[in-house]
């Protein structure tokens, strides 16, 4: 039973969390502009390293927040990425290079990003 450090609630048993896989895989800015192969890469391809791995967790039975942490897949050693008590969302989970939201959506809502 891993002890997962929720940035908000503190360390809780793994059973309270949902696993979200590799962190930083952003929803493509314009999916329609991607080739089938590029889209398939977004959908289906994830890293699987032995060692430190940045991944997403959701405190589903607690505060329901998503956050990122680094877990060593060989030892389960966990390194928090964002400190507890930070007032901002403790992990803009998608931090990939392709951007974090569709351009059209940003335009539609005047979103801050």
């Amino acid at each position: 039973m891993l002890l997962i450090p929720c940035p908000w609630c503190g360390p809780r048993d793994e059973a309270e969390f949902g696993y979200g896989g590799q962190a930083g895989v952003a929803y493509p800015r314009d999916p329609g502009a991607l080739t089938d192969e590029e889209w398939a890469r977004y959908l289906f391809f994830r890293d699987n390293p032995e060692g430190p791995f940045e991944e997403r967790w959701n405190h589903s039975a607690g505060c329901r927040r998503w956050f990122n942490l680094t877990r060593n897949t060989a030892t389960n050693e966990i390194t928090p990425i964002s400190p507890s008590g930070d007032a901002s969302p403790p992990g803009n989970v998608a931090t990939g290079e392709v951007g974090t939201a569709s351009a059209s959506w940003d335009a539609a809502t005047g979103g801050p990003r």
Partner: protein
């Protein structure tokens, strides 16, 4: 069209039935367990920086704490979410989402010197008074049900559980209580 208002006191005399109606509970020197039915509960979601003073409530900003404000108990559920227990009307606005959840969960009181030990059978968080003393609350799991656990004074805990899980949890508590 008007935004439907949450049901308050029923307009009519139709009988309300709580999820644990008929629950015998436990009444012992070491342990007291009973349902506190029909508490008015309001879920409130807002950006902590955008809570208007007109709300008339002080919101706990420290994770895992609750406080009493404006005649209600206000529980921290998440960085942008609180549960208000008490008969208060909260205005909905662009920045503040307000949802009536009075019937969503019922409340089980677990109290007495055996309360912490009983809860520890099914709850994995540290319930030591130095960690989970009066003023603390937590969304976690008790047995196999998700709950909101609220620590009060004098070894009194309120366990908020969704209505559909209430009988399961009451049965579980009653069963655990044979050791106390």
């Amino acid at each position: 069209m008007a935004d439907p208002t949450p049901p308050r006191e029923p307009a009519t005399m139709v009988e309300r039935i709580s999820p644990l109606a008929g629950f015998a509970g436990v009444s012992d020197t070491r342990l007291r367990v009973r349902e506190i039915p029909f508490l008015r509960q309001t879920n409130l979601r807002a950006d902590p920086g955008k809570v208007p003073p007109s709300l008339g409530l002080r919101l706990p900003m420290e994770p895992g704490t609750w406080l009493r404000s404006g005649g209600a108990d206000v529980l921290w559920l998440g960085p942008d979410e609180w549960l208000v227990i008490g008969d208060v009307d909260l205005p909905r606005s662009e920045d503040v989402a307000v949802t009536d959840v009075s019937a969503q969960r019922t409340t089980i009181l677990v109290a007495g010197p055996g309360a912490r030990d009983l809860l520890a059978h099914g709850c994995a968080i540290d319930l030591h008074p130095s960690v989970f003393g009066p003023g603390r609350c937590a969304q976690t799991t008790l047995a196999r049900a998700q709950v909101v656990l609220v620590a009060g004074e004098d070894e009194e805990f309120r366990v908020l559980v969704r209505a559909s899980f209430a009988r399961y949890l009451a049965d579980w508590i009653t069963d655990a209580a044979v050791d106390y």
